[in-house]
């Protein structure tokens, strides 16, 4: 998985210039149910994986989220 591309897609969802791997998701202003829905849709459409909301809520950083999506692809 192309991680920089994943962070770029995450940045678009979170409406910021850049997302760094160690950024904590909850610290973003727009990390709400709409953002989580957007992440689910992105994971499905771009990476072909079905991520559950509780899995997303259990991760802390952007890198954790990238790892979650990557692990599901295997």
């Amino acid at each position: 998985m192309d991680k920089p591309e994943f962070y770029q897609r995450l940045a678009e969802i979170l409406d910021v210039e850049e997302v760094k791997p160690d950024n904590v998701l909850k610290d973003f202003d727009v990390w709400d149910s709409l953002a989580i829905l957007s992440v689910l849709a992105m994971a499905d459409a771009k990476y072909g994986v079905s991520v559950k909301a509780e899995e997303i809520r259990s991760v802390v950083t952007a890198e954790d989220l990238a790892r979650l999506v990557e692990a599901k692809r295997k």
Binding site: D15, V30, S33, L34, I36, L37, S38, L40, A41, D44, A45, S50, K52, A53, E54, I56
Partner: protein
């Protein structure tokens, strides 16, 4: 479970929307959204306006008004009605069945089957299956399939998750026998283990109505509700629609020997425009075949989004032409039901506004 039917058709559809319309731009302060939040939400969900029934208008009123228009237009006669199926989650009363109330208001004779079915977004296709099955009884002539919900009564206006996308509406669909032998293909599935994904906890007999169940709480920013209001696990529903519905539609297409190309319209239930777009992309169906404007203009009206979609977008061609269509409803239960069939020419196909007496 897959099944097929022959010699049956939909002959008329009328959808009835309450005339009261609200615009998201005027409503967003109720949802405690800032202008920026509202803009983001509006864009993502393609929201514009929706129809909400006034307090004294029930789903059955919308459906009954539709039936009266069909009678007035002469496409249906009272004596032809052999069965009334009322598909709803917002009945008039806990008892008696609302189909009986409608039967009485129409002044029908005693040889009529009346059934209420507690169903939501899969309700139109589930109801069609029941209507086709009733038509296997020789004495049954025409079945009135009534779908209707006033979901706005199961939430507060101060609920940013549910209220902006909700719409109230009702529809009356006439289902009857015909000489056409072309097969109707259908699949209906259920998963009760996920029944909590869409739930109203209180007000039934598991948790009877009380002062406690009626207490309003702000459960999260911009979401005020009580235990007698609808609880939706939005993410679980999103997973459900993306994981379970595309495979079912593909199965039904394979069952009927159809392809994405041979189907002219995919009339999918519309929870919100975002999900419908994602589903169409996933199934690689051109968006032009998947009309997706019901929620933006009327709101998610549960079992009525499919008839509303047909009458809103294809009213003219459906009166003169036969179209190969795929219908798919999915939601509360969880229940998901899809069908492939020929639709039209219909005797009547119209979307009207409700007029109170």
């Amino acid at each position: 479970m897959k099944c097929t039917f022959k010699n049956k058709r939909i002959s008329s559809i009328i959808t009835v929307a309450p005339s009261q319309e609200f615009r998201f731009d005027d409503e967003y302060p109720y949802f405690k959204m800032t202008e920026a939040q509202a803009k983001r939400f509006k864009k993502m969900m393609s929201l514009d306006r929706h129809r909400i029934a006034p307090p004294d208008v029930c789903a059955s009123d919308l459906c009954l008004f539709g039936v009266q228009q069909l009678l007035k237009a002469g496409v249906l006669k009272k004596e032809e009605i052999s069965a009334i199926l009322f598909i709803s989650q917002t009945p008039d009363y806990i008892l008696p069945p609302t189909s009986n109330v409608i039967h009485g208001k129409l002044g029908l004779g005693h040889d009529v089957i009346c059934l209420d079915i507690n169903q939501g977004c899969a309700g139109f296709v589930v109801g069609l299956q029941q209507a086709f099955m009733l038509l296997e009884i020789p004495a049954v002539s025409k079945v009135l399939l009534l779908t209707g919900d006033t979901g706005s009564k199961q939430m507060t206006r101060q609920n940013r998750l549910n209220y902006p996308i909700n719409g109230d509406a009702g529809a009356a669909t006439v289902v009857e026998r015909c000489s056409d032998e072309r097969t109707i293909f259908m699949d209906v599935k259920n998963d009760g283990s996920r029944h909590k994904a869409l739930l109203i906890q209180g007000g039934g007999y598991r948790m009877p109505s009380s002062v406690e169940t009626l207490k309003l709480r702000e459960v999260e920013e911009g979401v005020v509700k009580c235990l007698e209001h609808v609880d939706m696990d939005g993410a679980a529903i999103f997973n459900f629609t993306m994981d379970d519905i595309p495979p079912q539609i593909e199965e039904v297409l394979a069952f009927s020997g159809d392809t994405r190309e041979s189907i002219q319209h995919f009339f999918l239930h519309q929870p919100n425009p975002f999900i419908v777009t994602q589903m169409a992309q996933k199934m690689k169906i051109p968006q032009a075949k998947v009309p997706n404007n019901v929620v933006s203009l009327y709101g998610n009206c549960s079992s009525t989004t499919i008839p509303l979609n047909i009458t809103l977008n294809c009213s003219e061609p459906m009166r003169t032409e036969t179209r190969r269509v795929c219908l798919s409803g999915f939601g509360v239960g969880l229940t998901w039901a899809s069908a492939v069939m020929d639709l039209g020419p219909l005797d009547y196909c119209k979307l009207v506004d409700y007029e109170s007496k």
